[in-house]
Symmetry: D4
Subunit: 252 residues, 8 copies
């Protein structure tokens, strides 16, 4: 997992500076810290290019705050998602300088600014899809990218989308957030050449089935080469965009 | 159900020409013929404006032929749907002059030409949706309407649809047949003012779920005022169009 | 989309009154207003014959009020659906003269009376289906039509329905609102010649599956030519009725 | 389970005619025969009032024939359900005098005529539901009851049902067999005072979901006091009717 | 529906005491009262043998009270199901002498004692199934029957059931209420000769799927001749028992 | 069920010390106590090796306390699961010396220490799975075993798991608690030779489907010989471990 | 994974007999053989105690035979599951001495007899469950255990089960194979103290849902401490039994 | 869609070389060819970077061949997916030089070699996933990329995966094809920094639910930033990879 580190250990063994048994143990020893209830993995940033985010749903406000402190103490940037306004109050008292996005339900504190990334186009079909898009936008920002928000451009009024055609053609990656039938993904991906990531949302009622309908709609998109993430997973879409963008050279 | 007929019976009773017990019985007596295994309702045409169609799936070729003869003997037009080529062979031997549509899997014999109806626009998203559209087209024809077929205009290549914009604006009723994510319904209904009926198809694989995905997609259409029929139900869509068209005056 | 407008632009270009670049831009420019969080499309009324309605579920009371003001400022009629009594309080303070229907959970303000439309028959199977029917009734009224409410005529006491037989035969369009097994649609459509639109409701428990059971029941109706809208979608059923009624001449 | 038998054993023990260990063993010993692959329980007839039926689906023709012989050897009546025409050939060679019903896919041999039972009304909504109804009819006959077949009286042509109203009022038990939306159960149970048993069928396509739609429709029937059996389970419905009829005195 | 009444009308017409048009109208006129939001059908008792019950879920306390008064004013007995303690408070203020069963969430007022019926055995698998059983018990009592409650006798401790074997053998009808895997139905029906009605309950978590698991388990019972009602539908099971018991002579 | 007891009764009968009728009755008589609403089975401990646990969901605090007292009065150990903090307050007032685990939502009182058992390895994929693991841990402790908690070792950071490899190889039984995709089970069972029991959790959102996704994932594990219990059923996993451990000799 | 092997490598490095880079490579090198289309893992037997089995569904007869030869060449025992009679013909020509079980659809060749194991009790509810039980029986035999087959003892005739009570009490592990409602698991586990593994089968029709109903029924078993494997997975149940039995001392 | 083309048309209009009406028409005119049953869109390659592929499932062999000829006549490369061996025979007679991949069920003819692309890592969990991977491999090749096949490296033998760790770290894009529980995606994405695309397969039985289980498992992956395509959609995964790779500079 950490080839250089293993090489180092092997060299110490060869040099006799480390016993074989200690070497064995160190080969097992991996860098994570045990908080008792959550093993925060500070090296994930090194390995994969993004910080440990806290998914706050199902965690108490105190647990969230405790994990947040541990992350910041390790010098990493903080991103908390699915954070209720009430839990943010607790977090804000525990950690200073955290910024809250009430629509996206995210909290962010940057202690180590990321290198400048790319512009990412963020489209939503309706206004109810905006919270999920905002979660993606905040995640992109923490990763160094600039979200370009174009909201409420669903296919029933498809003329609204045409005014954004240039942006669609020029973005290096597009994220399409849509509930209901999820048709926006197909239309956008039919125009764009670039990677288009669909995020189905749980917006809607009845046969929207909590997001399964736009999910299945997006998976069955008649536009080739689209991919999707889990329902309401704005964070995941942003991370997927980041995986793509890391290898793309910045435009001059 | 048949107010005039009941009035007649009551008048006969008052006039003493009919005993009360016979009157009671006649009030119960309703016009259908018992074939033993299927009660063919020849008066449905009178009541609702279309002939009894034979849904052939699950019926033997002989049963189909027997019902067909009974319908034609009563002077009604014949429409058989979901008819395999093999069963058509049997039918063709039993009844002469029946025309078969192999793509739509329908058989038709007109003995009583319907009054001239309207043009109905029939759109499909892909080529695999055509069999269902053809079932609708044949049903429309039996009901006196002229199907206008515009096939393979799915949203991933939405520019194909624009060349049909004028037809979309002028049709009195539009039927949209689509599998996969079913998005064509929303786009068309976002342009058209007229009734738009969606027919989800069982085309697709994996998460298309045998047509549930386009069905749910169409039900969640972000374009207001669309309605849908059952999966693959081209016959039903044509009947629904006919219910609408009966009251619309023909264009001069 | 707006052929006349494009023609005008082309004529200005030919006449040299408009540069090509400005022309290009104007061809893209489409009439919608950006509120930041929702693009209200005031021209939809022109294009399709109904005003922009506000679906309030998942919107804050303040967002609702803000969108409502924008709609009314543009001179359009206001229809808000799925509006809680609490949110109505906020709306009523922001906009004067709005009428609330607590059973249908709708708010309406007519500033521009629609042309007189048709009578539409609204049937419900039970009393619990009434809220959905009321949403349809209010939408019909905004569109200029007169809802004829006949409630609680489900098939278990099918004799209740017979007393409405004349209305069923004479209505230009019928909307059937039913939960549980949704059987009312089949019975009514077996009598009526006219378009019958089914609205499954989420009424019921256990295997009613939040409305999927009446939805699937209605889609499998043994009465030909029925169509359905999404679960609980009274608004959509009324819009579908309106699409049909626009072409039907008013009775003398 | 067999109080008298246990009493006998206890009396033998008290009388010293049976050792305690033998008594213990005999208390465990229960009357069934081991064929190696199927334990035929000949005493079920004594205990519950009906013979062991063979459910042939998934059994080889030879297994079926072998079980059939064992049942007949024990002096019981034979009823085989879900028996293909091919397997019947094998059975007919092995056992003489077996009668086959090709629509119901049942085989019957009566060696011990049952006491005369009741008339049971068997309704189907369509012609495709008939095979399931025939399975019920044959089962009823083996149990001594007289099936009264009234087929193809679905609710879309509800007038057909009225001509059967008297039979509905007089039957001691009614079995309603219906696919599609299953609405016939509600209408019939809304008229009848007697037990009404619904059998959903797997007839239909798309959203009929292999019979789940009529099953759920029937479970949500708005007519009180209806019960249902499994999809396509004509045999089970007949057995349920028999459980009811055993205590009802025959009409003079 | 009311043959005698129709005969009377026909006789008045013949006698010239009634005009044909008035006769037509009276033939349509059916005995139900319009409360505006619910058509209370007071004659259902005559037709089917039980009073109109109020299903209170989804009704306001005031609606419930208003319907209750209408039922009692017509001289019928009152049964309200799914009634919260809060709504009962309102009902108790509106109508005096109503008895509330907090476990079964039912309210009852008998103004017209029913004829003496039968004993009905009510089994539950666990303690959590008791509320549904209590709803059945109260319904049975209103219908004149005596519920015999045997609760918490699930199959994991099957020896508990044996002590009830005599009751199982002697009851004219058995109702089995069970959640989780619903196995109690099969075991009981394997012992009993009489009708056994299963009521699956929504008790359980995870894969109990809100009661679908015991429902499907019961439908697939390996004991022949069992029937089921909807999930948690204690009221329906009692009505089904009543349909059966009406024809069974009382034991001396 | 209790061979010795039956032998004793038979011997008393033979010896004439017991009448046959009394003997019959005693054979039926089984050791459980009737609290009215729950039959507490104190002998289950003797028969199967664990005490009666109280599943508190859906029980009132008073019912829980009453059952708890009955269990303790019989000299058994007490284990209550799914106990809210509020209900614990009531229990704590009714019974003294009960210990509450707020994460596992369990209450325990040991009055009869179990024999010393084994160490059981308890793994969780994430921090949100801990409550279910804690329920298992407390159950194990009541049964005499020592839970070894290793939490938050999911496969996305699979290196964390390697540091636990030795424990995985040495544990006599492993319980893997995981939500989301449930992949941890496969990885662990691919390493370990011993029984590995999977507990899917309802952690996650969207397509986690309340735990069905990890459940199905675990059932489809590509590692042979794994078994699973119901979603969130930590108690059941511990009991299954106990069934296994009873026959395994303790390590020296 | 192989601590001793790693130690060896480290010692070679310290001794200078191995360069660091070669050591790094060897640390990665793991023992499996590449057939091109399937990596047969011969060391799995060493690591987990069972041989590589071939799951033949979806593999061509030639692929199966090729993998079989590779396994036997490595000196391991062969077990092929889900093997059609046709594919066995091919296998029998390629490898001599293979024994086929047509009911279980398994092929076995023992080249290296396993150490003597335990008796395992195998119960089925019906005769249709036998193929799955036979797959388990054959797998157990390959692993050295003796399957004790007790078939067709379902709960509807629960007295059949009592004659097996002693075996249930004495078996070290019990496997219960059941379709339909899966109730046998609960009844058996309510009697037995030992590990009980449920295998739901896809036997049944309609709402058996291809085995989901007995699966969910078994997961919701009211008998504590039961576990289940995937639908029809007799192989997996035997492997799970083997994991348990490895640590249990053989009875004298 | 084609800004330059529109500019040209506008310039012709300004220059008077084109009438306004002709201009209007040309603005609508879009480049696709109408074969009657399928509109082949030859310009898609220009717009999005890949040729029109033929999805052959549900198309007759003749339709496939006809579309293939049209594509090749237009000078595009041919890729046909889901092509049965029988249909390939027909295609091979119609078009010469087509290469068939029987495992991937694809046919390819390159007439216009694509520019050299990247290496793409293709992993499968088992051998049964290979057909889907081969479809992806062939698609990648048509698009100019070099598939690197590493098959049968599922997580139950996770040590097999470690030998591929270097490739995982270096690939610009990874495609993970897996059925059963789909866990391979999480493990790979936990190691890799680059885009990882999951393709769930319909391999497996019972609760694999035709691929829904690995699909949902992958969507719930605990490794951030993964995306998925539809079940068995190897073609789609390759297209998604191509969208990503178009912007990534080739390694020196």
């Amino acid at each position: 997992m950490d080839r250089d580190r293993i090489r180092e250990i092997l060299e110490e063994i060869r040099g006799g500076r480390l016993s074989i048994d200690s070497g064995l143990e160190r080969l097992r020893l991996l860098p994570f810290e045990d908080l008792g209830f959550a093993r925060v993995d500070h090296h994930r940033g090194l390995r994969q290019g993004w910080p440990e985010a806290i998914f706050c749903e199902g965690k108490s406000a105190d647990e969230t705050a405790s994990i947040a402190r541990s992350i910041l103490d390790a010098g990493s940037n903080l991103l908390a998602t699915r954070l209720s306004a009430e839990s943010f109050e607790v977090l804000a008292r525990a950690v200073e300088g955290v910024r809250y996005n009430p629509r996206g339900r995210t909290a962010v504190k940057i202690v180590n600014p990321p290198p400048e990334g790319h512009s990412v186009l963020l489209l939503t079909a309706g206004t109810s899809d905006i919270p999920v898009a905002e979660e993606a936008a905040e995640t992109l920002a923490v990763l160094g990218h600039a979200p370009v928000r174009v909201y409420d451009v669903g296919v029933a009024g498809i003329h609204r989308l045409w005014s954004e055609e240039k942006r669609i053609e020029e973005a290096p990656v597009i994220i399409v957030v849509a509930g209901m039938e999820g048709a926006l993904l197909s239309v956008v991906a039919g125009i764009a050449r670039v990677p288009v990531i669909g995020v189905p949302t749980s917006v809607g009622y009845g046969t929207a089935l909590g997001g399964l309908t736009p999910l299945f709609g997006m998976l069955n998109s008649c536009a080739s080469g689209t991919t999707v993430v889990n329902i309401d997973n704005g964070f995941g879409a942003a991370c997927a965009a980041h995986r793509i963008l890391q290898r793309i050279p910045r435009r001059a």
